[in-house]
Amino acid sequence: MNQTSETPDRQSKRDFLKIILSGGVVAFFGAILYPLFEYLIPPKQAEVEVSSVKAGKLSEIANDSGQIIKFGTKPVILIRTAEGELRAFSATCTHLDCTVQYRKDFGTIWCACHNGKYDLHGKNISGPPPRPLDEMRVVVQGDDILISKKV
């Protein structure tokens, strides 16, 4: 009597354990494989941000022009003078951190926020900026322009 009442109980308990166990194994593989497969999907964004930035091709940059280049988390302005010389500066205005731009008509670097002006050596020449822009290093390798921090 005792035995008969115990056996189904044992049986059901074992089944329960087995269900848990096999369910656990399935869930476990799910928990492991989900992040793995997610990891394998390449992210959409550009893959690598580099501290020295390729700023484009020399042949594609006209004389007497300037452009803003993303340098890590900060903007950098690359200037090509009328004589064809390349210079790069931090594009953060030394006055109130706006982003400066190149003004062809003035021939200067210009900040739209408060009309601060810098000459093409980054020196503050007019308006509120208290000090010159930080200069960056420009290296030309073949046709590629590389900008990096000045050491």
């Binding site: 354990l17 848990i20 869930a27 476990f28 903007p75 706006c98 982003t99 926020c113 208290p130």
Partner: protein, 488 residues
């Protein structure tokens, strides 16, 4: 010859030279007067002569000897005409010694030579053998009179002429400092100081009042009285002196106000030399208060964009009609505090409401109201973005891109503050909307980073739960196997 010397002077002479050489007579002056040369003629009006200094006091030699060879004997200490730096050293022989000066009954300071050495004028001359400026350059050699004597070259009304002897000489200045202008006097004569000086007012500022007398330094020298950070103090030496300024009937609180202003704080406290000092608005040598018309041009030299926007704004005509000064009306003059968004709008502290009320100029009232609410919402958006970015960063999430965009929000806000001066709601809204758009993107990005943070913790809970259940059931399973084996 003796008749040229007044009996009184002779008495003083004998009395005063008791410390030095006691002279019975002055054979130098006697002979040189006879020969009729200019120095000896001038010397008779000289303060030094009057106080008993003889030719020999500066030139040496034996003044009591009748024989010329004896009197001008080098062995007897005759030095002839001093050359180069010896000139100033000769003066300094007495003027730098307080004892000697006292013995002549003078209470003049005795540090002039010392001060001169620190001055830009102590640079060596083109010949390289001596300093550019000697005492006699400004004070003359013979016929020196006291400063308060109107015939003195350094008398307030004469100083300008004395300085410009060199400073208006193009050829001369070019050889020493080609970048220095030579039109200071010309400009000075246009200034309030200069016109009054020309009319004979000795109390208004001349060259030495601002530049110093013996210790004149270049304007780039940090110790110069006209170095940007020192200049307000130099002007205020007179302009803040209530008693001194009394006859001129102008306020004397400009310095006090300026020191509290955004410009004063930048220059005097933060030592930002780009910040304007008195001369930036009032001019240097042509110092003058700007008129109603020219105020915007004065401010506009630095705040160009604001001035330009204002000129093309509807306010330009309205202000002109009412003869209101352009910038000053809202920003005041000496006490310009850093402009905040509070200036805009219709609240009591806003300046718009001074003219625009609900009853009067209603269109401007509404524009001010909506512009204020626009900039407020941009500001609130930026504040929220900063908070979210900070939170995400604190949680260790990587959000450098959102941080980069946050700069654009800030830029839009700063730009909108400039754009206010166009007093054009449409243009203003365009700038603010740009900022608001970016602000929303930043908020989304940082919020998703924060969300990711919680997602990681949630994921951990789920997976540890699964792993733990699996581990426990596996353990129970092993135990069961072992028990079964024992039972068997």
């Amino acid at each position: 010859m003796k008749k040229y010397i007044s009996p009184l002077a002779a008495v003083i002479l004998v009395a005063l030279t008791s410390g030095g050489i006691v002279l019975a007579k002055d054979s130098c002056l006697e002979c040189h007067t006879t020969s009729g040369d200019k120095p000896s003629a001038l010397f008779k009006h000289d303060i030094h002569f009057q106080r008993g200094v003889t030719c020999a006091g500066c030139h040496g030699g034996n003044a009591s000897a009748d024989d010329m060879d004896q009197a001008m004997d080098r062995k007897a200490g005759f030095t002839g005409v001093p050359k180069g730096d010896d000139i100033s050293k000769t003066c300094a022989g007495c003027h730098s010694s307080s004892e000697k000066m006292k013995s002549f009954g003078s209470s003049l300071p005795t540090n002039q030579w010392e001060l001169l050495q620190t001055s830009v004028h102590a640079k060596s001359s083109l010949k390289g053998k001596e300093q550019v400026v000697q005492c006699i350059t400004c004070h003359n050699a013979h016929g020196i009179v006291q400063v308060k004597n109107p015939s003195s070259p350094v008398y307030p009304l004469n100083v300008v002429k004395t300085c410009t002897r060199c400073h208006a000489d193009v050829a001369m200045m070019r050889s020493y400092n080609p970048s220095l202008p030579v039109d200071q006097l010309e400009k000075y004569r246009t200034s309030v100081h200069g016109t009054r000086n020309a009319k004979g007012d000795t109390r208004t500022a001349e060259c030495a009042n601002c530049h110093g007398s013996h210790d004149i330094r270049t304007a780039k020298d940090i110790k110069s009285k006209v170095y940007p950070t020192n200049l307000p103090g130099t002007c205020s030496a007179c302009h803040s002196n209530v008693a001194y300024m009394k006859p001129y009937k102008i306020p004397t609180d400009q310095y006090e106000k300026y020191a509290k202003s955004v410009h004063g704080i930048a220059l005097l406290q933060k030592h930002d030399q780009g910040a304007p000092a008195c001369n930036s608005c009032h001019g240097n040598h042509g110092a003058m208060p700007p008129g109603v018309e020219s105020i915007s041009k004065v401010c506009g030299t630095c705040h160009a964009l604001n001035a330009e926007l204002f000129s093309s704004s509807p306010h330009k005509k309205a202000f002109d009609d009412r003869k209101l000064p352009e910038c000053e009306t809202c920003h005041s003059n000496h006490e310009i505090i850093a402009a905040t968004d509070k200036l805009l709008g219709v609240s009591p502290e806003a300046v718009c409401s001074r003219c625009h009320t609900e009853r009067q100029n209603i269109k401007g009232y509404q524009a001010a109201k909506s512009m204020r609410s626009l900039i407020d919402s941009l500001d609130a958006g930026e504040q929220q973005d900063i908070k979210l970015v900070d939170e995400a960063e604190q949680k260790g999430m990587e959000i450098s891109e959102a941080k980069f965009k946050l700069r654009d929000v800030r830029q839009a806000r700063l730009q909108s503050r400039t754009m206010v001066h166009a007093f054009n709601e449409g243009k203003f809204k365009e700038v603010v909307d740009n900022g608001l758009k970016t602000s929303i993107i930043v908020a989304q990005e940082s919020q998703s980073a924060i969300h990711e943070y919680y997602f990681r913790r949630f994921g951990l809970v789920i997976s540890t739960l699964i792993i733990t259940i699996l581990a426990v059931s596996l353990y129970l399973f092993v135990r069961r196997l072992e028990r079964n084996k024992i039972q068997q």
